[in-house]
Each structure stands twice: as structure tokens, then as C-alpha cells.
Amino acid sequence: MVKFPSDDWAKAYMKALNENRAYEDAALDWEGDFLFVIDPDDKLKQRTAIYLDLHHGKCREAYVLKPGEEKKTSFVIEAPYGVWVRVIKKELDAIRGLMTGKLKLKGDMAKVMRYTKAAQEMVNTTTAIQSEFL
């Protein structure tokens, strides 16, 4: 079990993403890094951000930003901790979450809309990790 969110979880996610053939197929020519921002709620006390360097169907780097550290990325997905947990548990479809405003996406939307399958596989991959929640 890997605690979510944590640097170990980020590394486990990178490994799982790199083993996901469907993701690789869908993101073959994708270039752009992501930040998963997990906002505090009644369970999580501190804002946490996971950086992902995604390039041509592979994740080249993944880590948790240090407290207070800022990083400019092409895309940001942001939601409270409880929403992320629901996504990872597959209780909430991430694209529906984005459409209903439970998750916020910042970045070039037109580009994302061309890679909806890749986005879906990114989310599916979170469910492949044996995550431990707060």
C-alpha cells in the first residue's frame, strides 16, 4: 500500500503509467507536463502538488513538490483531497468531474480534447495503485 498523496505514490504512479500500454498508444505524440494539485479539506491539512513530466506516451519524471514550492506546467488539474480519493477509487469519472466542476483543469483545453483517451487512461492508471488514504 502506498499513501496518497506522497512522493512514493507519485513514483508508483509513474511506474504504473509507464506500464499502461493503452496510455502509451493514446498519448504517443503528447508533449506537456501536468500538475495534480490536491487541495486541503477535512482530511488533508496541507495543499500537495504532484508533478508529472509526460512525453510521447511515457512519464519521464514524477515527484511531490516541496511545501510552498511553485512550478509552472502546461496543465493543472486541481480538486480537494476528497474528490481525488473518489476519482482514484473509481467512484467519480474524472471527465465528468471536470464537466461538473468538481475537478478544475487549467491549460490548453483544445489540446486536451484531442487526447481524451489519454486523459482517461491517466485516470484509470491511478486505480492500478494500491493506495492508502488518510
Binding site: 498508444d25 471527465i95 465528468r96 471536470l98 468538481k102 487526447y115 481524451t116 483517451k117
Partner: protein, 387 residues
């Protein structure tokens, strides 16, 4: 949390008379040459005149409307400044009207900025009425449009919850002029909406309700409407079924059959409904491992009595092939006139476009590139999907 979004639906014989009741001063009718030549534009113009509304007509929409056509309509809107936009015709005219409407209302947005995650403003300059003259697309009630990107030769699916018409007019009399082939392929589009909506990842109680009734109508009335275009009962039920199918998939989604149809349509220029229909039995078979239960429910609704869910789902695929034969539609892409050399030359592109197509994303069975390659082999040669 989810939504069920739809416009006011005015349906039944003489639903077109509704236009006499609307209030305003100017309307732009967006349509195609065929509809104009059939005299349907004149009928619409007459109704609007009764309502005291003057109008102009843009009748240059082509099948699978291009971004260029949308920009031409946008220019007309800027010049004429109507308070009503009437999308009149099949999906192409309605989609072109919807898209130009959104761009006119949101001058800061590019075409590619119309997406499901960003709200758009509508109804500030004009309201939209859709009038369908075919029974298939469902575009009259959906909050999505499909436009061809002429630079990249691909179909863009543009969605926004706000782009719902003020009213959708579903008058079966307007479908009487459809020739048998068009009746068949548009009906297959509606059938594909129903099946893919009922099994996809976003299915919900509301979308299911419309799909369940629509599938019964389509299997019963499509062959009748195909064989006798003057059969008013069949035309009425097919018109209603197509709109119900639109309300269903518009509030759920579709799947790989649509991804294939968009891709084959973009590459070979074949009609959307035709490719949807040809692809559907194979896509049903592909989805049996994840969706046998739902496919069996649909099978039961059209009278297939089979206790085993997988066998019932398979029977649904076979019944769909039987329907295709009844309405004289080939069962594989090869028989649609796509040469083997042409198919091979475009194979990689077809696979890539299908994977990237937003419609494919919500297919219930998660697919790999290899799956899509195999599906194309099956659809092209008419081989059963058994993996």
C-alpha cells in the same frame, strides 16, 4: 452529480406550425441546397412570415460541414444580425448553425475553444431553433456539434452544455421526402446512438429511458419507412425515435462505432450513418465481455428470448445484421467500395483517428491500439469479433 439537458421538443404532424408562434423580427435559415430545392425552406419562410419575422437563407451547408462553411455563416450572422437562427435539415445543417451561433455569441472564442469544460455564452444575440428533416442525427436536441477541420482532415467534436436550441421541431411530414437510402443510413445512425448510449460509461437512468423506447421503434419501423416512404406511422415513429435517441446519447455518450464512423468519414468521405450501421454489429460483439448484461437488456426489448446474457448480446449483433440486410446495407467496409490498397494505405491513420476520437473514449470496454487494429480488420472483411 450529472445533468439531463434538452430543449423544448415540438413534435408530431404539423409541428412546423410552431414557428408561427415565435416572436422576433429577423431570422437566418441555415440549410443546404437539397432542402431548398425540395421547397422546405419556402414552407419555413412562410411560417416565419406569419409570425411577422423576415428572413434570409444560407443554403450552402455541405455534408460533414467544414470549418470554412461555419465561418461563412458567421459572416452572414454578423452582417444580418438576426434574433433567430434556424438550423434546418439533417445533422450537417443543424451542426453548422449551432457552431456558428456559438462563435457569434462568443467572439473571443476559436472553434477549438468550444469544449465541455469551459462555459460559453448563448442567447444574448439570437436564439436557435433546430428543425430536423431526417430521422437519425439527434443533433436537434444535443449539446454537441461535429465540424470538419479542413487543415487536418479530421472531425472535431465540439461540446458545451449551453449550446442547446430554444426549441427542436420534429415534424414527420418533413421526412417524407427522404429517399430510401437516406432513410436507411439516418435510421442506422439513430440505432447506433441508442446502443452505444445504453452501454457506455456515462449511461444513466434518464438516458436509458429514451434508449429503451427508441430501440423498439427503430427495429419495428425502420424497415417499414425504408420500404414505403409514405408510411406516415413509420415516419412518425422513426422521427420520434431519432430525437429520443438524441436525448439519450446527448446526455450519456457514444462509443467506438462513432469513433470509427468519424474516422472513416473523414478519410473516405462515406456517410456517417452508413459507417455507424456497418460498424455497429462488430462493436456490439467487441463490447460483450464488459457489457453483456446491458446488451441482453436491449436484445430482450426487441423480442430476443435468450437467458444467457452473452448469447443474447451476440443475438443482438446478429439481429442488427439482419436489419442491415433488410434495408440493403452492406455488412462490411470492403463492400462499401473501399479498395484493399486504399484501406491499407490509410490503415494507420484510421486507427490513430479512432483512438483520438472523443466518442471512442467512453466505450465501455477499455481498448488498446491492437484492439482497434483488430476491429478494423473485422469491419473491413466482415469477420466476427471474437477477442
Amino acid at each position: 452529480m450529472w445533468f439531463f439537458i434538452g430543449p423544448k421538443v415540438v413534435f408530431g404532424e404539423d409541428a412546423l406550425d410552431y414557428l408561427e408562434q415565435i416572436q422576433g423580427s429577423k431570422a437566418l435559415i441555415v440549410t443546404d441546397r437539397v432542402i431548398a430545392d425540395l421547397g422546405i425552406v419556402d414552407r419555413v419562410r412562410e411560417k416565419l412570415k406569419t409570425a411577422g419575422i423576415e428572413c434570409e437563407v444560407f443554403d450552402e451547408v455541405e455534408p460533414d460541414p467544414s470549418d470554412t462553411t461555419v465561418f461563412k455563416i458567421l459572416d452572414r450572422l454578423k452582417d444580418y444580425e438576426p434574433d433567430w437562427i434556424v438550423g434546418l435539415g439533417g445533422g450537417s445543417s443543424m451542426d453548422a448553425a449551432k457552431t456558428a451561433w456559438v462563435l457569434w455569441e462568443n467572439p473571443e472564442k476559436r472553434l477549438e475553444d468550444i469544449n465541455a469544460f469551459t462555459p460559453v455564452s448563448v442567447n444574448q444575440k439570437a436564439r436557435l431553433i433546430t428543425i430536423t428533416t431526417t430521422s437519425g442525427t439527434g443533433s436537434e436536441v444535443t449539446w454537441a456539434t461535429v465540424v470538419t477541420d479542413t487543415r487536418e482532415h479530421r472531425k472535431m467534436i465540439l461540446m458545451a452544455k449551453e449550446i442547446v436550441p430554444f426549441a427542436a421541431i420534429v415534424d414527420p411530414k418533413l421526412t417524407l421526402s427522404m429517399p430510401p437510402r437516406l432513410t436507411a443510413v439516418t435510421g442506422l445512425d439513430a440505432l447506433t446512438h441508442v446502443v452505444e448510449s445504453y452501454i457506455n460509461s456515462w449511461k444513466n437512468d434518464f438516458s436509458d429511458a429514451f434508449a429503451m423506447k427508441a430501440i423498439q421503434f427503430i427495429f419495428e419501423y425502420l424497415p417499414r419507412a425504408y420500404k414505403n416512404g409514405e408510411d406516415m406511422e413509420a415516419r412518425t415513429k422513426m422521427a420520434n425515435a431519432a430525437t429520443m435517441a438524441g436525448l439519450s446519447f446527448g446526455n450519456a455518450s457514444v462509443g467506438i462505432a462513432h469513433g470509427v464512423a468519424h474516422s472513416v468519414g473523414a478519410v473516405f468521405g462515406l456517410p456517417h450513418g452508413l459507417v455507424c450501421g456497418v460498424a455497429l454489429p462488430y462493436v456490439i460483439e467487441y463490447n460483450i465481455p464488459t457489457s453483456a448484461k446491458y446488451l441482453a437488456e436491449l436484445a430482450e426489448l426487441i423480442g430476443i428470448r435468450e437467458r444467457d446474457e452473452r448469447r443474447a448480446a451476440k443475438a443482438l449483433a446478429e439481429r442488427t445484421r439482419k436489419l442491415l440486410r433488410e434495408i440493403e446495407i452492406p455488412l462490411c467496409l470492403k463492400d462499401l467500395g473501399i479498395g484493399e490498397k486504399e484501406f491499407r494505405e490509410n490503415f494507420e491513420r484510421l486507427v490513430r483517428l479512432t483512438i483520438q476520437d472523443a466518442s471512442s473514449t467512453l466505450n465501455p470496454r477499455t481498448f488498446t491500439r491492437e484492439d482497434i487494429e483488430k476491429i478494423y480488420e473485422c469491419i473491413y472483411y466482415g469477420r466476427e469479433v471474437d477477442f
